[in-house]
């Protein structure tokens, strides 16, 4: 979990205008990541960003002047599809990306974003394409996100309104420790379980360490 608060955000935009960018591409399976590592940004888009011998590929967007410090990413449909690996949003977050704009997202990836301080924002494909081409034309363009107002605005004055369910929006804005929040309902969960043990006893046949 990398859930620090996100309310507003201003910075550069990296357009990666492809559809179906999967989490294998974002965080390749062969990444030599230790169990306890806390910065995994070097694995981000490893195959696309670097050659096999570790040199930067100059044509990849995150290697270009003005995009290295991007905080926004714009992509086409189904961003983050595929494997559930949370290391994909971690790598984006550790690199500095705090907001991704796309017409749709892989659902597990999208859920992971909210818990890691990344706003996954859905716009119509037409708007995403407009935004992508604005960013593509001008590497110095910046954008501002205001989560409470649910608006994105580019330095050139283009505005895009979006919607986001209130629960996950709060999770982002307050950087909530969701486990702590849920544990305030411990008594309720225990009561549910006690009742459940008598109504669905077969659920509890699993034995511990056996």
């Amino acid at each position: 979990m990398r859930n620090t608060p996100l309310t507003t955000l201003t910075g550069r935009v990296a357009p990666l205008m492809r559809a179906n960018i999967d989490t294998d591409a974002i965080f390749p399976s062969r990444s030599k990541m230790g169990v306890d590592e806390t910065d995994v940004s070097r694995f981000l888009f490893r195959e696309w960003r670097f050659t096999d011998d570790g040199h930067e590929r100059p044509d990849f967007v995150l290697n270009q002047t003005g995009r290295r410090d991007a905080v926004f990413m714009v992509a086409l449909d189904n961003f983050g599809c595929g494997s559930s690996r949370e290391t994909a949003p971690w790598a984006l977050r550790d690199f500095g990306i705090r907001c991704i704009v796309a017409p749709s997202f892989g659902s597990i990836f999208q859920a992971n974003c909210y818990r890691n301080g990344i706003a996954p924002i859905v716009l119509d494909r037409k708007d995403v394409e407009t935004l992508g081409s604005l960013a593509d034309k001008d590497a110095t363009m910046t954008m501002t996100l205001d989560l409470s107002k649910q608006v994105l605005e580019t330095s050139g004055g283009s505005r895009f309104l979006f919607t986001m369910p209130s629960g996950v929006k709060t999770m982002l804005m307050e950087g909530l420790d969701t486990i702590g929040v849920t544990l305030t309902r411990r008594a309720e969960i225990e009561a549910f379980q006690r009742n459940d043990v008598s109504t669905r006893p077969w659920v509890y046949v699993g034995n511990s360490s056996g």
Partner: protein, 480 residues
């Protein structure tokens, strides 16, 4: 006196998902999301090691360790004579951290030498850890496989796994519902894999995004439980949040007697509840898709997403015929990567390697169907690597008892220990550089099976036929 019965009867018709959701609801939160009770948490060493470690570091305890089960599959080597050493970078660390944390947390672990070890989504079905009507999560995107048993199972991230471990709940917004009704009798040589490939080809890889899918229809009822698991396994490949098949007599027959399944009075009580696990007549889904699979034949993917598929007798599509510009650009990039040209027939495209395995197609029925094609034959001399990796150690044992391993070995395949193996490339063991692979897995993404590897996904029978031909081949043409 009979008043309560009358009241319950007035309830609006509900979908199966709706019933399961209601049954597991602990609380409705202010924002309209729900706190859902989780019956089972499955862990594997790749994501489970991190989840358990992070939880321990934050000084949090498991809410109910007896509902948590672990196995080794992703990192664990599948070569015969394996140890904790693995070719995958940092693999040994993952195995050992997972083992230690699992022991400290007091959870069951199907470890390297345990006869129950296997791929998460395979072994937890065979052992009865997953059961009809249970909610089950795992930090793995193919968790929905267990919907084939009538469980409500879905893949989550590591943070959500930690949340589940610490609270036995997840905080969720109810996804939309989608029913996929599949009718008709598939043709000979076709299987559940071909159905789901054809389906994804039709609805596209985003066709189910945001939806929990119920598979219904005569073709689904006709499938074995193993086939239903293959079907549900690939629902995530069209974006579905989860997938389920309502449990029926075949499901109950499959589950009865499994090690963790209830028995005696508990079984009777379970059956009483399970018999109601179906969508009520008149229940409304947010989306309905209908597919007729009458006479459906084998399918093979030609591109780099699972929606880019064609019949084995078909051709690589003509790019100009793809109307949607994004789909057309994606198809162009796929063909460049795959080294194929528009209009080219699929049958006869030379292959270099074959992989029969994965949580999609490495159950006993899958191995039987491949072995039936391979019996008494040998793979083409041009095949440089051909491996069979059973979905679980139990599948391996049963296959050996039937002599299937001899058929594979005699044909020229390697016969492995169970695990995920080359379903994905972990940085260790690899296919020959640039190989074109006939694979029974679920993902044909770029670099998924290794840098530059070109994956064609298909059924076990089609993979077996292709291994004999040394090229993509139609299993119906292999004469018994």
């Amino acid at each position: 006196m009979t008043l309560t019965k009358t009241i319950t009867k007035t309830q609006a018709p509900r979908t199966l998902h709706g019933k399961l959701w209601d049954q597991h609801q602990v609380a409705v939160l202010d924002d309209g999301s729900e706190l859902l009770y989780i019956d089972r948490i499955a862990l594997h060493e790749r994501s489970g090691a991190i989840a358990l470690r992070q939880l321990a570091k934050s000084n949090r305890k498991l809410f109910e360790p007896s509902l948590v089960f672990g196995t080794l599959d992703h990192v664990l080597d599948t070569r015969v004579g394996r140890t904790d050493q693995t070719l995958i970078p940092s693999g040994t660390e993952y195995i050992r951290v997972f083992r230690n944390e699992a022991a400290a947390a007091g959870i069951v672990l199907f470890d390297i030498d345990d006869p129950r070890q296997g791929i998460t989504h395979v072994t937890f079905a065979e052992q009865g850890v997953a059961l009809p009507g249970l909610t089950l999560i795992c930090a793995d995107s193919h968790t929905g496989t267990l919907g084939g048993l009538g469980a409500m199972a879905w893949g989550v991230g590591i943070s959500e796994t930690e949340h589940g471990l610490a609270t036995q709940t997840l905080n969720l917004v109810r996804p939309k519902t989608m029913r996929v009704t599949i009718d008709g009798h598939i043709g000979t040589g076709a299987s559940a894999k071909d159905i789901v490939l054809a389906l994804i080809g039709q609805v596209g890889v985003t066709g189910g995004v945001g939806h929990m899918v119920e598979f219904a229809g005569s073709a689904v009822r006709d499938l074995s439980i193993e086939g239903r698991m293959t079907l549900c396994n690939m629902a995530v490949e069209f974006g579905a949040w989860s997938a389920i098949v309502a449990p029926d007599a075949s499901t109950f027959a499959y589950v009865k007697g499994l090690p963790y399944a209830p028995s005696g009075a508990a079984w009777d009580a379970a059956m009483e509840t399970w018999s109601h696990l179906k969508t009520d007549d008149g229940a409304v889904f947010d989306r309905e898709v209908v597919l007729d699979v009458g006479a459906l034949g084998p399918h093979i993917s030609w591109g780099t997403n699972p929606g880019q598929v064609a019949s084995v007798t078909g051709t690589v599509p003509d790019l100009a015929a793809i109307a949607d510009p994004v789909a057309r650009a994606a198809a162009k990039a796929s063909l460049d990567y795959m080294g194929l040209t528009p209009g080219q027939p699929l049958e006869g495209v030379p292959i270099d390697a074959v992989f029969i395995g994965s949580c999609t197609n490495a159950r006993l029925a899958d191995l039987r169907s491949a072995a039936a094609i391979l019996k008494g034959r040998t793979i083409a001399a041009s095949i440089r690597k051909a491996i069979v990796v059973p979905g679980s150690s139990d599948v391996k044992k049963q296959a050996e008892a039937e002599g299937l391993h001899r058929i594979f070995l005699d044909a020229g395949f390697e016969w492995r220990e169970s695990g995920c193996s080359l379903c994905f490339f972990g940085g260790g063991e690899a296919f020959p550089a640039g190989a074109r692979v006939a694979s029974t897995t679920n993902r044909n993404f770029e670099n998924r099976q290794g840098p530059g590897i070109r994956t064609h996904i298909m059924s076990p029978a089609t993979a077996a036929a292709s291994s004999l031909a040394g090229a993509l081949a139609d299993p119906r043409k292999v004469v018994a």
